[in-house]
Symmetry: D2
Subunit: 186 residues, 4 copies
């Protein structure tokens, strides 16, 4: 059975909510999924990542970039990088911040570059933005393309924080990613 | 007297509205301003740009990047580039698209890179985002930092399209740019 | 049989040489390949792109970005974009310029964003850089990850211009892309 | 007297050499300069940064981005960011890695975005690349525009590692930055 690992960092819980939604989407596609926080970098994490068919990276946007704990994970990946252990795996990403645009694209770019250094293959968001449709579904409210974006208010994370439509788009992204992993792995 | 040229392309009029707001801001700072569409690349344009103290670049975001007519202007600037005629001038930028985030950052990055190739000095947006304040002013609604961003609906350009708060933020950016040009030129 | 289209613009012939090398690599993987210059935007081009299993984009780097003719192609793709006709196709890219680094990454980023807007899936370069190995092969001399980079001298395009090692890396990228298309399409 | 702080991280000493060269350039322009490693984030560092007329950021390129220790510094700057204490200061950047191109532009972009979030004003490299001249000076060998780039071999840092021409370009960038700070501060 195909397997996806969601490797992420969450500072205050909002990115955690996004990770849950992405995981639900992956599962809905019939793919096994594992949620792994990258705060602890132990052997089990690296073993799980090496065995995965696809890895989805998630991080809050801090200072227009991945968070420092996520960057520590990126730098620590130099060992699998040197052996190119993640080569040809599928990759994707999501991020969250307080602003509507707010340099979230800078974070997704950093994730794309990171995946490319690992010779991975990047799966884009693939959800048509509500700005260009009249279907009332409100999907991809922020018009993101590279990966899933979410915007959160300053209040604690919860059902409506990050924004509910952004959560729904994250789920759609997870499902798309799961379908792609099955196609790539068959 | 210090002088600023706003070199821009507008496809359907929305970026034009943004250019007007930026120009008002520059004027409010006591700096002369000239609005120049880059659809026509004649000697007068290049002469005006070479004489300016600062240049603000404006373009819609099409396909996550500057528009094709704006790119044609960029490529045509290889002559002043080869002579580095714009070296040490101040530069800034603005863009507009239909989505809230929608890869507008990709366009602003393209403008920053373009200005750097001309050895210019980049003035950031400098307007505190309303997402992080409770002042009710609604400035910098989209939380943009590199330059001024606007979001427009599909209806024709007008008083409220681009979004009125985005227009106000563009004016604030123009004023900031004008103040910077005066400081840099004195 | 799987099919790849290389959609590219070449200003002075150097990017054309790169396109040839990439095409040879795709063919070596047993995949049909079509070289299409995007200077002419006719119905045949759009039909071929819609029918392809994968599209590789190529452009010189002018002003830290794709060339103006390539940008015109990007903007003209708004029709297949609106129908998301290229969704789930594989995508990749290559670029060439006079400098060793010279903002070529800015161009590859623009291609990645473009592909993401079309909901495509991005295949990275995947060739280990010679800077990190002692195998004397000289592959991926410029240490590019997102796509294939080449550097050319001012002399006319030829056997050694772009740089011969960059040409060899382009061929390796084409082969990798072809293998990926076969795996994705089976 | 105008003052510049160089805030940087060096993993193995190569970026340290670059910082020395940039500092020499700033001094040559008649501007006071302070070299501060960001490994230790104490009150003295933040006080010095708040008092500076310009800040130059330096970091190795790890995984196509700033190093994790540098990212920790970026995230820790959220306090001066919230008060916008660095607003209108001049900013610049430099980076080093093992490859000729090697995603160094990604790192410089991250620094530009970071400076923009602090509402700073970005000074580009401003050194004409040797690829486009026949003056034999070998300056800006890598054709970088956004900031100073260097390439190092795997051997320990020294007189010729990073590459001597890259070191010379870093010095030229420091001098340009110093001149800009004097002009901006008078």
């Amino acid at each position: 059975m195909a397997k996806v690992v969601i490797a992420y960092h969450s500072g205050f819980g909002h990115t955690d909510v996004m990770a849950q939604r992405v995981a639900e989407g992956v599962k809905a596609a019939g793919v096994e999924v594992s949620l792994r926080k990258v705060d602890v970098l132990d052997d089990a994490l690296w073993a799980e990542l090496a065995a995965a068919d696809g890895i989805i990276f998630g991080t809050p946007t801090y200072m227009a970039n991945v968070s420092a704990p996520f960057k520590a994970f990126m730098d620590a990946s130099s060992k699998p990088w040197f052996g190119q252990l993640w080569k040809d795996k599928l990759a994707g990403g999501f991020t969250n911040s307080g602003g509507l645009s707010g340099d979230k694209l800078g974070t997704l770019q950093a994730l794309v570059h990171f995946a490319a250094q690992h010779s991975m293959i990047w799966v884009s968001q693939g959800v048509w933005p509500s700005a260009y449709s009249n279907d009332g579904k409100g999907s991809n409210r922020l018009s993101s393309w590279l990966g899933a974006m979410a915007q959160s208010g300053n209040s604690p994370a919860g059902v409506d924080n990050p924004n509910a439509e952004d959560q729904a788009s994250a789920r759609l992204f997870g499902e798309r990613f799961g379908v792609a992993v099955m196609r790539w792995s068959r």
